[in-house]
């Protein structure tokens, strides 16, 4: 069952952070970070993910996240009212560990390379840490150098390599961030 579940979700959890191509002109301070504010945000997030990630997500997947972790799951970056990035996360018990999971991370191309993804992820991780998570995990394509560097800077290690994880035959890394035991957190 577990194996099947892995297979079922594989190829759908992708994080993208990439080389700047067509760049947008903006100041970092103009970016506004907003938590999920209700139904009106859902189409924005769905469009963003649909545009940028190759794998399809049914409405149920979004509902699943928003229903269980409304504050955590959809964090968005807005620039002058336009939604330019989002991160989708969850938390839960996994083999006796309370673990956070980053399911999707998207920043649209013109806005990449300016720290928006880092900010989105950092905010999510902080929220997971405050909620009592012991670790955070995610999968990233081994070829996605941008994402690997981003998560590396945040303290993630490459815990495993998952052979042919994506349906295009590319391997994935399972990335993990272990928090220090609570007593050490000042």
């Amino acid at each position: 069952m577990l194996l099947q579940q892995q297979k079922e979700t594989r190829g759908r959890e992708r994080t993208m952070e990439a080389k700047p191509e067509e760049k947008a002109e903006f100041e970092e301070a103009e970016i506004e970070y907003v938590s999920y504010g209700g139904e009106h945000h859902l189409p924005l997030i769905m469009n963003l993910v649909d545009q940028e990630l190759s794998e399809p997500y049914s409405i149920f997947t979004y509902r699943y996240f928003v229903y269980l972790w409304p504050q955590l799951s959809f964090l968005q970056a807005f620039h002058k009212g336009k939604c330019v990035g989002t991160v989708v996360c969850k938390m839960g018990e996994h083999r006796n560990t309370f673990r956070g999971y980053i399911a999707m991370l998207v920043v649209i191309k013109p806005y990449r390379g300016r720290g928006i993804a880092t900010e989105l992820v950092t905010r999510s991780i902080r929220m997971m840490m405050e909620s009592g998570c012991e670790e955070v995990t995610l999968e990233a394509e081994v070829t996605n150098k941008g994402a690997l560097a981003l998560y590396g800077r945040l303290g993630f290690i490459r815990a495993k390599r998952l052979f042919h994880y994506y349906l295009n035959g590319v391997d994935a890394f399972r990335l993990k961030l272990l928090f220090p035991p609570p007593r050490q957190v000042l």
């Binding site: 997947t61 035959g169 928090f179």
Partner: protein, 729 residues
């Protein structure tokens, strides 16, 4: 069938069921649920969802939205059934009424099937690759077309043979798409005759080839024989193109059957067929020029991307026909390998199989482990790895021949008396045999899976060690209190314990270095990784050295009981080359650790703290499995910190470990003059050591003074010992 409550709800408005056209049994009551659904919808607010208690991510991700082209494979089908495809002429027989075109199309089908087969071996489902061929899906239909029929039959039999090898070996945990065959007509009657059918067709075409050669040289036709097709100018080329394709299939099928024979008895014959396969593949490649030139029409696009030698699209394939059988994932279009890449794949596969077939079936575990590790270096694919595994472990014995207890006996240099000793019935001893068997199986899996398995496996080796030690203590009390060296049982235990430790450290070593191959370590983590590698290597070397001394001792006892000659004593006092080899590793690991530590302590770039955790957490994560199994004992994060915290450029200058490594590598080479594989490894070690020695001098001299100095690490000389590159920016 509707549930009763629904029926009651739905019939509130008194409308009769309207779905009479759907066949129903006597007990079926059909009801229109639309009013109920409408009522439910009206009661739901925006964003609400009806779900069961078990609604989870799996359920959510499994849902498909109908009519969404990314999710609903149904809407992108050309045909909804095989019959529909056939009725629409998607796979005609004959393929063309023009016999020349018919032959060309048959060759295209053969080529595309080869590309499909390679794509299958490389990880796609059988349903979406080989069985996208409509002719294969209805093989009996092809009977009137002898050529196509014989080829399809041997393809089906080959696929079946390959599936059986891979399923038996069970090395495919992460590659489980491979053996999924449900819904596919893989089991046809009469496939045992596939070779005789193929031989008959081959014979006919050989005669046709002879006949056309005879005609061209104006000799008389030797017999009354219909030519293959109607264009005499193309006859020879087509016959040749077909013959190499048919012969390749024949020999490949023989390779698979020979390799399956018990106890490696068919390996020698397999090698002959492998050689024939490679020859035929060469001819197949050569036939491409003819196939491309024999028709005036040329195909569009880059020929290197095509799945056929001619460059034409093959007839009779539809990948979406059984896409619903492909996997528990939503089906989607896959890319079949190009014909060129497919041929390359088969060349590599055959070379890998040849390596297996040329192995001497050495009963010594140490050389066997080295062979498997060396074999894995060429990154063989699943099919080759499965064959190796089946050869190594058959019927719970090594090569189906040597019981694992006997293998351990030899490896651990147990006394002669062990063979008949009751001790082999001891539970822990039996388990140890299982562990060795599992080790061999794990070593045949892909590197990613292998590393994960080895990491968990260490715990089992640790447990067996503790159990054996406990059994030993129960029987003999403390080791030191016993003075009876001649006691066989005690000797067995001592040897076994030592040997188990040696194997455990060897596994730990392999676990750590596989991390480099899989790119699991980032530069910032190299320091701790080399430090840990160093700690493991120290123990491995120590145990190996002791084990060698012990085996030497046993071997001597087995031989003539003459007094030790001074020459023997001198030889014993020398460090064995295998140990020196490991010492070279130690020097490199230590040298890299200290250099990385100094860089981290002196140059801020090498010490970039992360916002959420520290180096300690990374250490815990990377070495958790080793730490849990106490490998090695007393090794911890504080001990790592302690040994690296004081490293500075100034301390680095005091000792150059790389020079030691270089010296040892140079010296020990002469001892391995008959071992090309270890000789090559020593050369690589020597190169890394030489480069790093120079780099260390530069860093020590300039590191503190020149802030523009850029230090990076490359694996250009050795797969896991980094070459240090120093540049001025």
């Amino acid at each position: 069938m509707a549930d009763k409550p629904v029926y009651e709800e739905a019939s509130i408005d008194g409308q009769p069921p309207k779905l009479a056209s759907i066949p129903a049994s006597d007990t079926t009551v059909w009801a229109d649920a639309s009013p109920l659904l409408q009522a439910a919808c009206a009661g739901l607010r925006d964003g609400e969802l009806i779900h069961g208690d078990n609604f989870n991510l799996f359920a959510a991700m499994s849902a498909l939205e109908i009519m969404d082209p990314k999710m609903d494979s149904g809407i992108v089908c050309t045909y909804y059934s095989i019959d529909e495809a056939i009725e629409n002429g998607a796979a005609p027989i004959p393929i063309s009424l023009d016999s020349t075109i018919d032959v060309r199309c048959t060759i295209d089908i053969m080529d595309h099937l080869l590309a499909c087969e390679a794509a299958w071996h490389k990880g796609h489902s059988l349903a979406q690759t080989v069985f996208s061929c409509i002719y294969l899906l209805r093989l009996d239909r092809t009977a009137p077309h002898a050529l196509l029929h014989s080829y399809c039959r041997i393809i089906r039999a080959t696929c079946k043979a390959v599936v059986s090898v891979v399923s038996d070996a069970r090395t495919h945990e992460e590659e489980d798409l491979f053996t999924m065959t449900y819904g596919l007509p893989l089991n046809g009657d009469g496939d045992d005759k596939c070779l005789s059918i193929l031989n008959a067709v081959e014979e006919t075409i050989s005669r046709q080839l002879r006949a056309c050669k005879a005609t061209s040289s104006k000799r008389r036709l030797p017999e009354d024989l219909e030519p293959l097709q109607s264009n005499p100018n193309l006859e020879e080329g087509f016959c040749k193109a077909l013959l190499c394709r048919l012969r390749f299939r024949k020999h490949f099928f023989h390779v698979l059957s020979c390799m399956k024979r018990p106890q490696g008895r068919g390996l020698e014959s397999a090698r002959k067929h492998i050689a024939s396969c490679l020859t035929e593949l060469e001819s197949i490649l050569k036939s491409a020029d003819f196939l491309r030139s024999c028709f005036d029409e040329s195909c569009e696009g880059d020929i290197d991307d095509k799945t056929t030698a001619s460059g034409f699209e093959p007839i009779g394939f539809d990948a979406m026909l059984n896409s619903r059988l492909s996997a528990p994932t939503p089906p989607r279009a896959i890319k079949i390998l190009s014909w060129k890449k497919a041929v390359e794949y088969f060349v590599k596969l055959l070379h890998d199989l040849d390596v297996i077939c040329s192995y001497s079936l050495d009963p010594r575990l140490e050389s066997l482990l080295r062979f498997v590790v060396q074999f894995q270096k060429s990154q063989p694919d699943l099919v080759a790895r499965s064959h190796l595994q089946l050869l190594l472990v058959q019927d719970g014995k090594l090569y189906g021949r040597d019981p694992f207890f006997a293998v351990i006996n030899k490896a651990a240099a147990l006394p002669e008396a062990t063979k008949n000793h009751d001790i082999q019935k001891n539970e822990s001893f039996l388990q140890l045999g299982m562990l060795v068997m599992n080790l061999l199986k794990i070593l045949c899996t892909n590197a990613a899976w292998q590393r994960r398995k080895l990491g968990k496996f260490l715990q089992d080796w640790r447990v067996i060690y503790v159990q054996l030690e406990l059994a030993f203590r129960n029987e003999y009390g403390e080791v030191s209190s016993s003075s009876n060296d001649e006691n066989t049982c005690m000797k067995i235990f001592q040897h076994i314990l030592l040997w188990v430790e040696e194997q455990t450290y060897w596994i730990a070593f392999r676990f750590l270095i596989l991390g480099f191959e899989l790119e699991l370590y980032s530069t910032g983590e190299y320091c701790m990784v080399y430090w840990y590698l160093y700690a493991v290597l120290i123990k491995l070397t120590e145990k190996t050295h002791l084990m060698m001394a012990v085996s030497h001792d046993t071997a001597k006892r087995k031989g003539k009981k003459k007094k030790d000659s001074p020459k023997d004593l001198a030889r014993e006092s020398r460090i064995p080359p295998a140990v020196l080899f490991l010492q070279c590793y130690i020097c490199l690991a230590e040298g890299l650790t200290m250099m990385l530590a100094a860089l981290r302590n002196e140059i801020p770039v090498f010490h970039s703290p992360s916002p959420f955790n520290t180096e300690h957490e990374k250490f815990v994560q990377h070495f958790e499995l080793l730490q849990r199994a106490c490998i090695p004992d007393h090794v911890s994060y504080p001990s790592y910190k302690e040994s690296t915290t004081h490293a500075r450029f100034s301390t680095l200058a005091m000792y150059n470990y790389f020079k030691d490594a270089q010296r040892i590598a140079k010296e020990v080479k002469s001892s391995f003059s008959n071992d090309p594989e270890r000789l090559a490894e020593l050369r690589k070690l020597e190169q890394v050591a030489e480069h790093n020695s120079v780099a260390q001098n530069v860093i020590c001299r300039l590191g503190a003074l020149d802030p523009s100095l850029k230090v990076s690490f490359e694996f250009s000389h050795h797969p896991f010992f980094a070459t240090v590159v120093v540049k001025r920016s």
